[in-house]
């Protein structure tokens, strides 16, 4: 099987054994773009080394949970450790733009969790 041309995108395509064809009936995937903001370019460059940015675009987490997720990637998934300044910049951006607010788009928006009495669960 011949390889498609080199390229970052091509690496993902090459891994799909049957090869990728620009088929008419398919979903057109726009290149993932992060919302503008301080740290966006940093997140774009650093967070797309292993996985697509589309994984980031799907998430909604508190700053603490983002930090835990990045720790997990460093400890278990081979990610290079970030220095403190870069780490903070990335966490600030992710918490600001991909935070854990209620999402209207979920399949059952009807069912909001009822408010809890007492200390916040988070």
């Amino acid at each position: 099987m011949t390889r498609p041309p080199f390229g970052l995108r091509a690496a993902a395509l090459a891994a799909i054994a049957a090869g990728v064809v620009a088929a008419a009936a398919a979903q057109d995937l726009a290149a993932p773009e992060l919302p503008a903001g301080e740290g966006a370019e940093l997140v774009d460059a650093i967070c797309s080394g292993c996985h697509s940015l589309r994984l980031v675009l799907q998430q909604g987490m508190s700053r603490d949970r983002w930090a835990e997720t990045i720790d997990w990637m460093v400890e278990e998934q081979g990610m290079a450790e970030l220095d403190a300044e870069t780490g903070d910049a990335i966490l600030d951006y992710l918490a600001a733009h991909f935070g854990d607010e209620f999402r209207a788009g979920a399949p059952s928006p009807f069912f909001q969790p009822p408010p809890l009495a007492g200390p916040a669960a988070k």
Partner: protein
């Protein structure tokens, strides 16, 4: 390359190329200013480029590889039709509910879930599956040997991702935000895992299986395994747990695990190792990649949305809970002149069978029992249909609720857990009656 990424890379490299190299690839500059990639960094860059870099020692520190150009071809998964792609790397794509409207899910409509990068070569020629560990006689079997030595069976089998429905969680849970389409019910041809394990001869010490496949870790690190889960021996010995080599009578789709995979129906799809190369029979619970920590685990007690749960309080998911999906009409449909419609769907449960399906079109105030077909074989999903008549024009929701043979129904709301698993809340579609 997107403008944003180009800006990001250029900015990083412009400010401090050595720092950029270090951040992106773990690449340290040698004293002679040439970049030296450390092991993982070299693997990462090689994986990103899709090739080894024989002259990496000569590559100047701070050079952005020229090959990092993102091409803008529209994205399609060859052999799949209509799937919604959640992520392209790793590739994860689900089937819209209205495209699951077949008794048997066609291969081109079966969802795709990847943890890593599929192998390039999925030809059955030369492919072997090892059975080793707590067995009297380790085996190393070709696919032909599997076909010739063991009885071949053909079963329609439910396969659902443990995270199907994760998009319904509030606060959101991390991971792929599947809605309702990470489920399929294709017809699979293979041999019983039980027969293979009996041929190997299980020792009394055998407790669990550990599965391995030919996929590669996203980081490119060859020492890392993208996923390796397993199951208790009892599930492995169930006569419906198979090693399969055909999907709907043809070679398995490369994205669904060709040429051979495990099919452990009714349990999270991650147990059904794709591109199967090895089953390690173990004397303890398997601890491979995504088997430990909180992966595919839920708290052992009910928790509040957003609650922090200690890792020790999680337990491994086994059988998937009762669930259903409405496959016709498509949500958002407008009924023309008539005020009646046939509603259809599928229902399943990971252990047992579905006893009843009810539908409502008044937000749960009243329910109609659907006509429910029996499963063609255990662990197949069951099809159901109901005729609904609407009193007048307006907006309606149709809800479907399945009940299993143990009397367990689908819940109204999501039982929240930190990783977003097992959302079996009722599926709802919207319809508009125009006149």
């Amino acid at each position: 390359m997107t403008r944003q990424r180009e800006r990001g890379l250029c900015e990083l490299y412009g400010e401090d190329p050595e720092r950029a190299d270090h951040l992106l690839f773990g690449r340290e500059a040698c004293r002679d200013r040439r970049g030296f990639l450390r092991g993982a960094g070299l693997a990462a860059m090689s994986a990103a480029l899709g090739a080894a870099i024989p002259f990496h020692r000569n590559m100047p520190s701070g050079l952005i590889p020229a090959a990092f150009a993102e091409d803008k071809k529209p994205f399609a998964i060859q052999g799949k039709d209509g799937l919604v792609v959640l992520n392209d790397r790793p590739l994860n794509a689900e089937t819209p509910a209205h495209l699951l409207d077949d008794d048997v899910t066609p291969t081109h409509r079966h969802f795709v879930r990847n943890n890593g990068l599929p192998p390039e070569n999925t030809s059955p020629q030369g492919w072997k599956v090892k059975i080793e560990g707590e067995v009297n006689q380790p085996l190393d079997l070709s696919i032909d040997e599997l076909k010739n030595r063991f009885e071949v069976v053909r079963l329609k089998l439910q396969l659902e991702c443990g995270g199907n429905g994760r998009a319904g969680f509030n606060p959101p849970a991390s991971g792929n935000q599947w809605t309702v389409g990470a489920v399929g019910n294709s017809e699979w041809t293979g041999v019983r895992l039980r027969d293979v394990l009996k041929a190997a001869g299980l020792k009394d010490s055998a407790v669990y299986t550990g599965h391995y496949g030919a996929d590669a870790h996203l980081s490119g690190d060859p020492s890392k395994v993208p996923i390796s889960r397993g199951m208790p021996i009892a599930k492995a010995m169930d006569p419906h747990t198979l090693i399969v080599f055909e999907q709907n009578g043809k070679p398995i789709h490369p994205q669904n695990g060709a040429p051979v995979r495990i099919l452990a129906p009714g349990w999270p799809g991650s147990v059904s190792q794709k591109w199967l190369t090895r089953i390690w029979v173990r004397d303890k619970v398997h601890d491979g990649s995504k088997m430990t920590g909180t992966s595919y685990r839920v708290p052992s007690y009910p928790v509040a949305p957003g609650e922090k749960v200690p890792t020790e309080a999680f337990k491994i998911i086994e059988a998937m809970p009762v669930k259903s999906v409405i496959t016709s009409p498509e949500t958002g449909a407008a009924l023309g002149s008539g005020r009646a419609v046939e509603v259809r769907g599928s229902a399943w449960v990971g252990d047992g069978f579905v006893r009843a399906v009810h539908v409502s079109h008044d937000f749960g105030a009243s329910w109609t029992e659907a006509e429910l077909s029996p499963a063609p074989n255990p662990f197949s999903w069951q099809r159901w249909r109901a005729n609904l008549a609407f009193a007048g024009k307006g907006y309606y929701e149709v809800w479907a609720r399945a009940t299993d043979d143990k009397g367990r129904m689908q819940p109204f709301a999501v039982a929240w857990n930190p990783k977003g698993y097992l959302n079996n809340a009722m599926h709802r579609i919207a319809l508009r009656v125009e006149a």
